[in-house]
Amino acid sequence: MEGLGIQLAFYSFAAVTIGSALLATMAKKIVNSAFALMATFFGVAGIYGVLGSDFMAVTQIVVYVGGILILLCFGMLLTDRVPDEFRVRSPRRYVGASIAATLTFVGLAWAISGTAWARLPHITDGSAEALPTTALIGNALLTDYLLPFEFASIVLLVVLVGAARVARGGTR
Protein backbone atom coordinates (compact mmCIF):
# COMPACT_ATOMS: atom_id res chain seq x y z
CA MET A 1 0.00 0.00 0.00
CA GLU A 2 1.13 3.53 -0.71
CA GLY A 3 2.12 6.00 1.98
CA LEU A 4 -0.30 8.74 0.94
CA GLY A 5 -3.26 6.38 0.80
CA ILE A 6 -2.52 5.07 4.29
CA GLN A 7 -2.20 8.59 5.66
CA LEU A 8 -5.43 9.77 4.05
CA ALA A 9 -7.22 6.68 5.34
CA PHE A 10 -5.82 7.22 8.82
CA TYR A 11 -6.82 10.88 8.93
CA SER A 12 -10.32 10.25 7.64
CA PHE A 13 -10.91 7.51 10.24
CA ALA A 14 -9.41 9.75 12.93
CA ALA A 15 -11.71 12.59 11.86
CA VAL A 16 -14.74 10.28 12.04
CA THR A 17 -13.65 9.06 15.49
CA ILE A 18 -13.02 12.48 16.99
CA GLY A 19 -15.99 14.16 15.35
CA SER A 20 -18.47 11.56 16.48
CA ALA A 21 -16.90 11.43 19.95
CA LEU A 22 -17.41 15.18 20.25
CA LEU A 23 -20.99 14.72 19.06
CA ALA A 24 -21.49 11.99 21.65
CA THR A 25 -20.30 14.15 24.51
CA MET A 26 -22.05 17.34 23.44
CA ALA A 27 -25.40 15.97 22.26
CA LYS A 28 -28.30 17.16 24.39
CA LYS A 29 -30.29 13.96 24.01
CA ILE A 30 -28.74 10.84 25.44
CA VAL A 31 -30.14 8.78 22.54
CA ASN A 32 -28.16 10.80 20.05
CA SER A 33 -24.97 10.36 22.05
CA ALA A 34 -25.49 6.62 22.12
CA PHE A 35 -25.88 6.42 18.36
CA ALA A 36 -22.99 8.84 17.77
CA LEU A 37 -20.86 6.42 19.78
CA MET A 38 -21.50 3.84 17.05
CA ALA A 39 -19.61 6.02 14.55
CA THR A 40 -16.79 6.43 17.10
CA PHE A 41 -16.45 2.67 17.47
CA PHE A 42 -16.39 2.21 13.71
CA GLY A 43 -13.75 4.91 13.36
CA VAL A 44 -11.55 3.18 15.92
CA ALA A 45 -12.09 -0.15 14.14
CA GLY A 46 -11.04 1.55 10.90
CA ILE A 47 -7.84 2.80 12.52
CA TYR A 48 -7.04 -0.74 13.67
CA GLY A 49 -7.64 -1.86 10.11
CA VAL A 50 -5.30 0.82 8.73
CA LEU A 51 -2.60 -0.32 11.17
CA GLY A 52 -2.91 -3.87 9.82
CA SER A 53 -4.49 -5.37 12.92
CA ASP A 54 -7.39 -7.22 11.30
CA PHE A 55 -8.43 -9.28 14.31
CA MET A 56 -8.53 -6.23 16.61
CA ALA A 57 -10.65 -4.31 14.10
CA VAL A 58 -13.32 -7.01 13.98
CA THR A 59 -13.14 -7.56 17.74
CA GLN A 60 -13.73 -3.85 18.21
CA ILE A 61 -16.99 -4.15 16.25
CA VAL A 62 -18.09 -7.38 17.96
CA VAL A 63 -17.39 -6.16 21.48
CA TYR A 64 -18.26 -2.48 21.28
CA VAL A 65 -20.96 -2.23 18.60
CA GLY A 66 -22.42 -5.70 19.11
CA GLY A 67 -22.08 -5.77 22.89
CA ILE A 68 -21.49 -2.55 24.78
CA LEU A 69 -23.49 -0.23 22.56
CA ILE A 70 -26.50 -2.55 22.45
CA LEU A 71 -26.34 -2.95 26.22
CA LEU A 72 -26.22 0.83 26.52
CA CYS A 73 -29.21 1.33 24.24
CA PHE A 74 -31.08 -1.45 25.99
CA GLY A 75 -30.53 0.13 29.39
CA MET A 76 -31.64 3.45 28.00
CA LEU A 77 -34.77 2.12 26.35
CA LEU A 78 -35.74 0.12 29.45
CA THR A 79 -35.51 3.17 31.70
CA ASP A 80 -38.94 4.54 32.51
CA ARG A 81 -38.22 8.17 31.91
CA VAL A 82 -35.20 9.14 29.85
CA PRO A 83 -34.38 12.76 30.64
CA ASP A 84 -34.26 14.62 27.37
CA GLU A 85 -31.62 17.14 28.42
CA PHE A 86 -28.67 16.82 30.69
CA ARG A 87 -27.37 19.88 32.40
CA VAL A 88 -24.82 20.21 35.17
CA ARG A 89 -26.76 21.91 37.92
CA SER A 90 -24.24 22.99 40.55
CA PRO A 91 -20.89 24.70 39.86
CA ARG A 92 -19.22 22.34 42.37
CA ARG A 93 -19.65 19.54 39.88
CA TYR A 94 -17.85 21.55 37.20
CA VAL A 95 -14.82 21.67 39.49
CA GLY A 96 -14.88 17.94 40.20
CA ALA A 97 -15.49 17.04 36.59
CA SER A 98 -12.66 19.23 35.29
CA ILE A 99 -10.21 17.81 37.87
CA ALA A 100 -11.13 14.25 36.87
CA ALA A 101 -10.92 15.09 33.17
CA THR A 102 -7.52 16.77 33.54
CA LEU A 103 -6.12 13.86 35.54
CA THR A 104 -7.37 11.37 32.94
CA PHE A 105 -5.90 13.44 30.13
CA VAL A 106 -2.53 13.81 31.82
CA GLY A 107 -2.40 10.09 32.64
CA LEU A 108 -3.30 9.09 29.09
CA ALA A 109 -0.88 11.57 27.54
CA TRP A 110 1.89 10.29 29.81
CA ALA A 111 1.16 6.69 28.87
CA ILE A 112 0.92 7.47 25.15
CA SER A 113 4.14 9.48 25.02
CA GLY A 114 6.01 6.81 26.97
CA THR A 115 5.10 3.96 24.62
CA ALA A 116 7.26 2.94 21.68
CA TRP A 117 4.49 2.68 19.08
CA ALA A 118 6.19 2.12 15.77
CA ARG A 119 7.85 -1.25 16.19
CA LEU A 120 6.22 -3.41 13.54
CA PRO A 121 7.88 -3.29 10.10
CA HIS A 122 4.66 -2.51 8.22
CA ILE A 123 4.18 0.62 10.35
CA THR A 124 7.75 1.95 10.49
CA ASP A 125 8.70 1.90 6.82
CA GLY A 126 5.59 0.58 5.07
CA SER A 127 7.67 -1.89 3.07
CA ALA A 128 6.43 -5.18 4.54
CA GLU A 129 2.85 -6.39 4.25
CA ALA A 130 0.86 -6.57 7.48
CA LEU A 131 0.82 -10.15 8.75
CA PRO A 132 -2.40 -11.86 9.84
CA THR A 133 -2.61 -11.63 13.62
CA THR A 134 -5.30 -14.16 14.55
CA ALA A 135 -3.00 -17.13 15.07
CA LEU A 136 -0.45 -15.03 16.98
CA ILE A 137 -3.12 -13.68 19.34
CA GLY A 138 -4.59 -17.15 19.85
CA ASN A 139 -1.22 -18.68 20.66
CA ALA A 140 -0.31 -15.84 23.02
CA LEU A 141 -3.64 -16.11 24.87
CA LEU A 142 -3.31 -19.86 25.41
CA THR A 143 0.39 -19.90 26.37
CA ASP A 144 1.95 -16.78 27.88
CA TYR A 145 -1.26 -15.08 28.96
CA LEU A 146 -3.29 -18.13 29.99
CA LEU A 147 -3.81 -16.99 33.59
CA PRO A 148 -5.26 -13.53 32.78
CA PHE A 149 -7.38 -15.15 30.06
CA GLU A 150 -8.84 -17.73 32.43
CA PHE A 151 -9.24 -15.09 35.13
CA ALA A 152 -11.32 -12.95 32.77
CA SER A 153 -13.57 -15.91 32.04
CA ILE A 154 -14.06 -16.55 35.77
CA VAL A 155 -15.04 -12.90 36.27
CA LEU A 156 -17.56 -13.23 33.42
CA LEU A 157 -18.97 -16.42 34.94
CA VAL A 158 -19.43 -14.73 38.32
CA VAL A 159 -21.20 -11.84 36.60
CA LEU A 160 -23.46 -14.28 34.77
CA VAL A 161 -24.40 -16.14 37.95
CA GLY A 162 -24.95 -12.85 39.77
CA ALA A 163 -27.16 -11.54 36.97
CA ALA A 164 -29.22 -14.73 37.04
CA ARG A 165 -29.61 -14.40 40.82
CA VAL A 166 -30.71 -10.77 40.54
CA ALA A 167 -33.08 -11.52 37.67
CA ARG A 168 -34.80 -14.34 39.56
CA GLY A 169 -35.65 -11.85 42.28
CA GLY A 170 -37.45 -13.00 45.38
CA THR A 171 -38.12 -16.62 44.45
CA ARG A 172 -35.57 -17.82 46.95
Binding site: F35, V62, G66, I70, L77
Partner: protein
Protein backbone atom coordinates in the same frame (compact mmCIF):
# COMPACT_ATOMS: atom_id res chain seq x y z
CA UNK B 1 -9.81 -11.07 -21.67
CA UNK B 2 -9.51 -14.25 -19.65
CA UNK B 3 -12.62 -14.84 -17.59
CA UNK B 4 -10.71 -16.74 -14.92
CA UNK B 5 -8.63 -13.72 -13.99
CA UNK B 6 -11.46 -11.20 -14.07
CA UNK B 7 -11.39 -8.87 -11.07
CA UNK B 8 -12.84 -5.45 -10.37
CA UNK B 9 -9.38 -3.94 -9.92
CA UNK B 10 -8.31 -5.50 -13.20
CA UNK B 11 -11.25 -3.88 -15.00
CA UNK B 12 -10.25 -0.46 -13.72
CA UNK B 13 -6.62 -0.94 -14.70
CA UNK B 14 -7.79 -1.11 -18.33
CA UNK B 15 -8.76 2.57 -18.09
CA UNK B 16 -6.07 4.87 -19.62
CA UNK B 17 -6.14 7.55 -16.91
CA UNK B 18 -6.29 5.08 -13.98
CA UNK B 19 -2.58 5.31 -13.06
CA UNK B 20 -2.78 9.11 -12.68
CA UNK B 21 -5.32 8.84 -9.85
CA UNK B 22 -3.88 8.80 -6.30
CA UNK B 23 -4.11 5.34 -4.64
CA UNK B 24 -6.50 6.42 -1.91
CA UNK B 25 -8.93 7.70 -4.54
CA UNK B 26 -8.47 4.40 -6.42
CA UNK B 27 -9.37 2.45 -3.28
CA UNK B 28 -12.39 4.67 -2.67
CA UNK B 29 -13.63 4.32 -6.24
CA UNK B 30 -13.17 0.55 -6.20
CA UNK B 31 -14.97 0.31 -2.87
CA UNK B 32 -17.89 2.46 -3.97
CA UNK B 33 -18.26 0.74 -7.34
CA UNK B 34 -18.00 -2.66 -5.66
CA UNK B 35 -20.69 -1.81 -3.11
CA UNK B 36 -22.93 -0.38 -5.85
CA UNK B 37 -22.36 -3.53 -7.92
CA UNK B 38 -23.34 -5.71 -4.97
CA UNK B 39 -26.52 -3.69 -4.44
CA UNK B 40 -27.50 -3.49 -8.11
CA UNK B 41 -26.42 -6.91 -9.35
CA UNK B 42 -27.04 -9.09 -6.29
CA UNK B 43 -29.22 -7.52 -3.59
CA UNK B 44 -31.80 -5.82 -5.81
CA UNK B 45 -32.50 -8.89 -8.01
CA UNK B 46 -32.60 -11.07 -4.88
CA UNK B 47 -35.07 -8.67 -3.30
CA UNK B 48 -37.28 -8.67 -6.40
CA UNK B 49 -37.13 -12.43 -6.92
CA UNK B 50 -37.32 -13.11 -3.18
CA UNK B 51 -40.56 -11.21 -2.58
CA UNK B 52 -42.05 -12.85 -5.64
CA UNK B 53 -40.88 -16.31 -4.56
CA UNK B 54 -42.18 -15.75 -1.05
CA UNK B 55 -45.65 -14.92 -2.33
CA UNK B 56 -45.69 -17.81 -4.79
CA UNK B 57 -44.39 -20.31 -2.21
CA UNK B 58 -46.92 -19.17 0.38
CA UNK B 59 -49.67 -19.31 -2.25
CA UNK B 60 -48.79 -22.85 -3.33
CA UNK B 61 -48.58 -23.99 0.28
CA UNK B 62 -52.00 -22.54 1.03
CA UNK B 63 -53.60 -23.82 -2.19
CA UNK B 64 -53.91 -20.38 -3.77
CA UNK B 65 -52.51 -18.99 -7.05
CA UNK B 66 -50.48 -16.06 -5.81
CA UNK B 67 -49.43 -13.19 -8.08
CA UNK B 68 -49.64 -14.56 -11.62
CA UNK B 69 -51.04 -11.74 -13.73
CA UNK B 70 -48.50 -8.90 -14.05
CA UNK B 71 -45.81 -9.96 -16.49
CA UNK B 72 -44.11 -7.64 -18.95
CA UNK B 73 -44.86 -4.17 -17.54
CA UNK B 74 -47.07 -1.50 -19.14
CA UNK B 75 -48.90 -3.78 -21.56
CA UNK B 76 -52.59 -3.17 -22.30
CA UNK B 77 -54.99 -5.62 -20.71
CA UNK B 78 -56.05 -6.93 -24.12
CA UNK B 79 -52.60 -8.34 -24.83
CA UNK B 80 -52.45 -9.95 -21.38
CA UNK B 81 -55.70 -11.80 -22.06
CA UNK B 82 -54.91 -12.80 -25.63
CA UNK B 83 -51.25 -13.76 -25.22
CA UNK B 84 -50.95 -15.43 -21.84
CA UNK B 85 -47.17 -15.90 -22.06
CA UNK B 86 -46.77 -12.12 -21.59
CA UNK B 87 -47.76 -12.64 -17.96
CA UNK B 88 -44.52 -14.58 -17.31
CA UNK B 89 -46.10 -16.34 -14.30
CA UNK B 90 -46.49 -12.96 -12.58
CA UNK B 91 -42.79 -12.10 -12.51
CA UNK B 92 -43.52 -8.41 -13.07
CA UNK B 93 -45.37 -8.15 -9.77
CA UNK B 94 -42.20 -7.21 -7.87
CA UNK B 95 -41.46 -4.38 -10.30
CA UNK B 96 -44.99 -3.10 -9.89
CA UNK B 97 -44.55 -3.28 -6.11
CA UNK B 98 -41.33 -1.30 -6.43
CA UNK B 99 -43.07 1.44 -8.39
CA UNK B 100 -45.80 1.52 -5.75
CA UNK B 101 -43.26 1.85 -2.94
CA UNK B 102 -41.38 4.64 -4.73
CA UNK B 103 -44.54 6.66 -5.33
CA UNK B 104 -45.86 6.39 -1.78
CA UNK B 105 -45.94 9.31 0.64
CA UNK B 106 -42.64 9.80 2.44
CA UNK B 107 -43.94 9.86 6.00
CA UNK B 108 -41.77 10.72 9.00
CA UNK B 109 -43.50 10.73 12.39
CA UNK B 110 -43.38 14.39 13.50
CA UNK B 111 -43.06 13.61 17.21
CA UNK B 112 -40.30 11.05 16.82
CA UNK B 113 -36.65 11.64 16.02
CA UNK B 114 -36.59 12.49 12.30
CA UNK B 115 -32.85 12.10 11.80
CA UNK B 116 -32.65 8.69 13.46
CA UNK B 117 -35.83 7.65 11.67
CA UNK B 118 -34.24 8.39 8.30
CA UNK B 119 -30.86 6.90 9.24
CA UNK B 120 -32.24 3.62 10.63
CA UNK B 121 -33.08 1.83 7.33
CA UNK B 122 -29.73 2.88 5.89
CA UNK B 123 -27.85 1.39 8.85
CA UNK B 124 -29.86 -1.83 8.73
CA UNK B 125 -29.34 -2.15 4.98
CA UNK B 126 -25.61 -1.49 5.32
CA UNK B 127 -25.41 -4.35 7.81
CA UNK B 128 -27.13 -6.65 5.33
CA UNK B 129 -24.96 -5.84 2.31
CA UNK B 130 -21.83 -5.97 4.47
CA UNK B 131 -22.43 -9.72 4.62
CA UNK B 132 -21.66 -10.04 0.90
CA UNK B 133 -18.13 -8.64 1.31
CA UNK B 134 -16.58 -11.84 2.67
CA UNK B 135 -18.83 -14.35 0.89
CA UNK B 136 -17.09 -16.45 -1.78
CA UNK B 137 -19.60 -16.69 -4.64
CA UNK B 138 -17.28 -18.73 -6.82
CA UNK B 139 -13.66 -19.70 -7.43
CA UNK B 140 -11.88 -16.40 -6.82
CA UNK B 141 -15.12 -14.39 -6.84
CA UNK B 142 -14.95 -12.84 -3.38
CA UNK B 143 -14.90 -9.13 -2.62
CA UNK B 144 -12.58 -9.19 0.39
CA UNK B 145 -10.86 -12.45 1.22
CA UNK B 146 -10.00 -11.30 4.71
CA UNK B 147 -8.05 -13.40 7.17
CA UNK B 148 -10.83 -13.13 9.78
CA UNK B 149 -13.71 -13.92 7.39
CA UNK B 150 -16.08 -15.90 9.62
CA UNK B 151 -15.46 -13.58 12.57
CA UNK B 152 -16.18 -10.58 10.34
CA UNK B 153 -19.44 -12.10 9.11
CA UNK B 154 -20.59 -12.68 12.70
CA UNK B 155 -19.63 -9.08 13.58
CA UNK B 156 -21.47 -7.44 10.70
CA UNK B 157 -24.75 -8.98 11.87
CA UNK B 158 -24.63 -6.67 14.90
CA UNK B 159 -24.97 -3.57 12.74
CA UNK B 160 -28.44 -4.56 11.65
CA UNK B 161 -29.57 -4.69 15.30
CA UNK B 162 -28.43 -1.11 15.78
CA UNK B 163 -30.53 -0.07 12.80
CA UNK B 164 -33.58 -1.81 14.23
CA UNK B 165 -33.02 -0.22 17.65
CA UNK B 166 -32.78 3.19 15.96
CA UNK B 167 -36.00 2.53 14.07
CA UNK B 168 -37.80 1.40 17.21
CA UNK B 169 -36.74 4.41 19.22
CA UNK B 170 -37.15 7.04 16.50
CA UNK B 171 -40.70 6.00 15.64
CA UNK B 172 -41.94 7.17 19.06
CA UNK B 173 -44.43 4.33 19.06
CA UNK B 174 -44.88 1.66 21.69
CA UNK B 175 -45.31 -1.14 19.18
CA UNK B 176 -42.10 -0.12 17.47
CA UNK B 177 -40.19 0.03 20.74
CA UNK B 178 -41.45 -3.34 21.98
CA UNK B 179 -40.66 -4.87 18.60
CA UNK B 180 -37.14 -3.48 18.66
CA UNK B 181 -36.53 -4.73 22.21
CA UNK B 182 -37.76 -8.21 21.31
CA UNK B 183 -35.54 -8.19 18.27
CA UNK B 184 -32.47 -7.29 20.30
CA UNK B 185 -33.18 -9.85 23.03
CA UNK B 186 -33.69 -12.55 20.41
CA UNK B 187 -30.77 -11.76 18.12
CA UNK B 188 -28.26 -11.24 20.93
CA UNK B 189 -29.26 -14.56 22.50
CA UNK B 190 -29.09 -16.50 19.24
CA UNK B 191 -25.68 -15.09 18.39
CA UNK B 192 -24.18 -17.40 21.04
CA UNK B 193 -25.18 -20.78 19.53
CA UNK B 194 -24.70 -19.33 16.04
CA UNK B 195 -21.08 -18.43 16.73
CA UNK B 196 -20.48 -21.82 18.37
CA UNK B 197 -21.96 -23.70 15.43
CA UNK B 198 -19.92 -21.59 12.99
CA UNK B 199 -16.78 -22.48 14.95
CA UNK B 200 -17.19 -26.19 14.16
CA UNK B 201 -16.10 -25.90 10.49
CA UNK B 202 -13.53 -23.30 11.53
CA UNK B 203 -11.96 -25.88 13.88
CA UNK B 204 -11.86 -28.51 11.16
CA UNK B 205 -10.41 -26.09 8.61
CA UNK B 206 -8.04 -24.50 11.11
CA UNK B 207 -8.70 -21.07 9.64
CA UNK B 208 -11.22 -18.23 9.81
CA UNK B 209 -10.69 -17.38 6.14
CA UNK B 210 -13.65 -18.25 3.92
CA UNK B 211 -11.51 -19.43 0.99
CA UNK B 212 -9.55 -21.74 3.30
CA UNK B 213 -12.80 -23.24 4.57
CA UNK B 214 -13.89 -23.94 0.99
CA UNK B 215 -10.43 -25.28 0.10
CA UNK B 216 -10.43 -27.82 2.94
CA UNK B 217 -13.69 -29.22 1.58
CA UNK B 218 -12.05 -29.87 -1.81
CA UNK B 219 -8.57 -31.08 -1.02
CA UNK B 220 -7.18 -32.71 2.10
CA UNK B 221 -10.58 -33.52 3.61
CA UNK B 222 -10.62 -36.00 6.49
CA UNK B 223 -13.21 -38.30 8.04
CA UNK B 224 -12.21 -38.78 11.70
CA UNK B 225 -8.54 -39.03 10.80
CA UNK B 226 -9.07 -41.05 7.60
CA UNK B 227 -8.25 -38.81 4.67
CA UNK B 228 -10.86 -38.60 1.92
CA UNK B 229 -9.19 -38.83 -1.51
CA UNK B 230 -9.33 -35.55 -3.42
CA UNK B 231 -10.87 -37.29 -6.44
CA UNK B 232 -14.14 -37.91 -4.59
CA UNK B 233 -13.86 -34.95 -2.18
CA UNK B 234 -14.34 -32.60 -5.13
CA UNK B 235 -17.62 -34.34 -5.94
CA UNK B 236 -19.15 -33.54 -2.56
CA UNK B 237 -17.73 -36.23 -0.27
CA UNK B 238 -15.40 -33.69 1.30
CA UNK B 239 -18.17 -31.35 2.39
CA UNK B 240 -17.97 -30.21 5.99
CA UNK B 241 -21.11 -32.14 6.96
CA UNK B 242 -19.30 -35.39 6.12
CA UNK B 243 -16.15 -34.40 7.98
CA UNK B 244 -16.48 -34.99 11.76
CA UNK B 245 -19.66 -36.89 10.90
CA UNK B 246 -22.34 -36.52 12.32
CA UNK B 247 -21.54 -33.49 14.48
CA UNK B 248 -21.24 -31.00 11.66
CA UNK B 249 -24.72 -31.97 10.47
CA UNK B 250 -26.05 -31.05 13.91
CA UNK B 251 -23.99 -27.87 13.77
CA UNK B 252 -25.54 -27.04 10.39
CA UNK B 253 -29.05 -27.51 11.78
CA UNK B 254 -28.23 -25.31 14.81
CA UNK B 255 -26.62 -22.67 12.58
CA UNK B 256 -29.63 -22.63 10.27
CA UNK B 257 -32.08 -22.27 13.18
CA UNK B 258 -30.01 -19.38 14.53
CA UNK B 259 -29.97 -17.79 11.08
CA UNK B 260 -33.77 -17.94 11.03
CA UNK B 261 -33.86 -16.28 14.46
CA UNK B 262 -31.34 -13.62 13.43
CA UNK B 263 -33.40 -12.81 10.35
CA UNK B 264 -36.58 -12.56 12.45
CA UNK B 265 -38.28 -15.01 10.14
CA UNK B 266 -41.12 -17.24 11.27
CA UNK B 267 -41.22 -19.15 13.59
CA UNK B 268 -39.08 -16.44 15.21
CA UNK B 269 -40.99 -13.41 13.89
CA UNK B 270 -41.92 -12.00 17.29
CA UNK B 271 -40.28 -8.61 16.64
CA UNK B 272 -42.72 -7.94 13.82
CA UNK B 273 -45.59 -10.19 14.75
CA UNK B 274 -48.65 -8.69 13.11
CA UNK B 275 -51.27 -10.06 15.47
CA UNK B 276 -49.62 -8.54 18.54
CA UNK B 277 -47.48 -5.60 17.49
CA UNK B 278 -48.98 -4.39 14.16
CA UNK B 279 -45.55 -4.60 12.46
CA UNK B 280 -43.17 -4.13 15.35
CA UNK B 281 -40.40 -1.71 14.52
CA UNK B 282 -41.73 -1.38 10.96
CA UNK B 283 -45.09 0.05 12.09
CA UNK B 284 -44.31 3.69 11.26
CA UNK B 285 -42.34 2.93 8.12
CA UNK B 286 -43.81 3.13 4.64
CA UNK B 287 -42.72 3.57 1.07
CA UNK B 288 -39.10 3.09 0.13
CA UNK B 289 -37.78 3.33 3.70
CA UNK B 290 -39.82 0.23 4.51
CA UNK B 291 -38.65 -1.19 1.19
CA UNK B 292 -35.03 -0.73 2.25
CA UNK B 293 -35.65 -2.79 5.39
CA UNK B 294 -37.30 -5.55 3.36
CA UNK B 295 -34.62 -5.47 0.65
CA UNK B 296 -31.99 -5.74 3.37
CA UNK B 297 -33.86 -8.66 4.93
CA UNK B 298 -33.99 -10.60 1.65
CA UNK B 299 -30.36 -9.75 0.92
CA UNK B 300 -29.35 -11.00 4.37
CA UNK B 301 -31.48 -14.13 3.87
CA UNK B 302 -29.58 -14.96 0.71
CA UNK B 303 -26.20 -14.04 2.18
CA UNK B 304 -26.76 -16.16 5.30
CA UNK B 305 -28.01 -19.08 3.19
CA UNK B 306 -24.83 -18.71 1.19
CA UNK B 307 -22.74 -18.61 4.36
CA UNK B 308 -24.42 -21.78 5.64
CA UNK B 309 -23.71 -23.41 2.27
CA UNK B 310 -20.10 -22.25 2.33
CA UNK B 311 -19.38 -23.34 5.90
CA UNK B 312 -21.07 -26.74 5.76
CA UNK B 313 -21.98 -27.67 2.19
CA UNK B 314 -18.81 -27.01 0.27
CA UNK B 315 -19.52 -23.47 -0.96
CA UNK B 316 -18.68 -23.30 -4.66
CA UNK B 317 -17.25 -26.84 -4.77
CA UNK B 318 -19.30 -29.97 -5.27
CA UNK B 319 -20.80 -32.28 -7.89
CA UNK B 320 -22.18 -29.60 -10.24
CA UNK B 321 -18.88 -27.71 -10.17
CA UNK B 322 -16.87 -30.85 -10.96
CA UNK B 323 -19.31 -31.82 -13.71
CA UNK B 324 -19.29 -28.39 -15.37
CA UNK B 325 -15.51 -27.99 -15.22
CA UNK B 326 -15.16 -31.54 -16.61
CA UNK B 327 -17.14 -30.54 -19.71
CA UNK B 328 -14.93 -27.48 -20.13
CA UNK B 329 -16.78 -24.50 -18.64
CA UNK B 330 -14.61 -21.84 -16.92
CA UNK B 331 -14.33 -22.55 -13.21
CA UNK B 332 -15.82 -19.18 -12.20
CA UNK B 333 -19.09 -20.00 -14.01
CA UNK B 334 -19.16 -23.55 -12.67
CA UNK B 335 -18.58 -22.23 -9.16
CA UNK B 336 -21.44 -19.77 -9.41
CA UNK B 337 -23.74 -22.57 -10.62
CA UNK B 338 -22.72 -24.85 -7.76
CA UNK B 339 -23.01 -22.08 -5.16
CA UNK B 340 -26.38 -20.82 -6.38
CA UNK B 341 -28.32 -24.07 -6.25
CA UNK B 342 -27.29 -24.59 -2.64
CA UNK B 343 -27.87 -20.99 -1.56
CA UNK B 344 -31.20 -20.75 -3.38
CA UNK B 345 -32.27 -24.11 -1.96
CA UNK B 346 -31.62 -22.96 1.61
CA UNK B 347 -33.30 -19.63 0.75
CA UNK B 348 -36.48 -21.36 -0.47
CA UNK B 349 -36.38 -23.72 2.53
CA UNK B 350 -36.60 -20.65 4.80
CA UNK B 351 -39.85 -19.74 3.05
CA UNK B 352 -41.20 -23.27 3.37
CA UNK B 353 -40.46 -23.17 7.11
CA UNK B 354 -42.11 -19.77 7.43
CA UNK B 355 -45.36 -20.98 5.91
CA UNK B 356 -45.34 -24.27 7.82
CA UNK B 357 -44.62 -23.50 11.46
CA UNK B 358 -46.60 -21.27 13.83
CA UNK B 359 -44.89 -18.50 15.77
CA UNK B 360 -43.17 -19.38 19.04
CA UNK B 361 -43.86 -17.55 22.29
CA UNK B 362 -41.07 -15.32 23.63
CA UNK B 363 -40.31 -17.68 26.53
CA UNK B 364 -40.22 -20.62 24.12
CA UNK B 365 -37.76 -18.70 21.95
CA UNK B 366 -35.45 -18.20 24.94
CA UNK B 367 -35.82 -21.79 26.20
CA UNK B 368 -35.05 -23.06 22.70
CA UNK B 369 -31.88 -20.99 22.62
CA UNK B 370 -30.42 -21.44 26.09
CA UNK B 371 -31.65 -24.89 27.07
CA UNK B 372 -31.31 -26.74 23.77
CA UNK B 373 -29.22 -24.95 21.14
CA UNK B 374 -26.39 -23.74 23.38
CA UNK B 375 -25.65 -27.14 25.03
CA UNK B 376 -25.92 -28.99 21.73
CA UNK B 377 -23.67 -26.44 20.02
CA UNK B 378 -21.14 -26.80 22.86
CA UNK B 379 -21.17 -30.59 22.49
CA UNK B 380 -20.71 -30.30 18.71
CA UNK B 381 -17.81 -27.93 19.27
CA UNK B 382 -16.12 -30.41 21.64
CA UNK B 383 -16.53 -33.35 19.27
CA UNK B 384 -15.37 -31.29 16.29
CA UNK B 385 -12.30 -30.31 18.30
CA UNK B 386 -11.71 -34.03 18.90
CA UNK B 387 -12.09 -34.71 15.18
CA UNK B 388 -9.67 -31.92 14.35
CA UNK B 389 -7.18 -33.38 16.85
CA UNK B 390 -7.51 -36.86 15.35
CA UNK B 391 -6.94 -35.44 11.88
CA UNK B 392 -3.69 -33.70 12.82
Amino acid sequence: MNLDELTLTGLFEELPFWVDIPPFAQMTVIGLVGAAAVVLLIVAPIGLMGTYAERRVSAFMQDRCGPNYVGIPFLPRKIYTNYKWTRLFGLGQSLADGIKLLSKEDFVPPKGEPFLFIAAPVVAFAGAIGLFAALPLSDGLIAADVNVGVFYLLAVGAIEIIGVLMAGWASNNKWSLIGAMREVAQVVSYEIPMAMAALCPVLIAGSLQMTDIVAVQRTGATFWGISIPDSIAGWGAGWMIFQAFPFNIIALVIFYICVLANLKRAPFDLPESESELVSGFLTEYSGMRWGLFVLGEYGAMFALSGISATLFLGGWSGPVYSLLTAIGLPSIVAGVAEFSYKAVGLFIFMMIIRWTLPRLRLDQVMVMCYKYLVPFAMACLLFCAAAALVAR
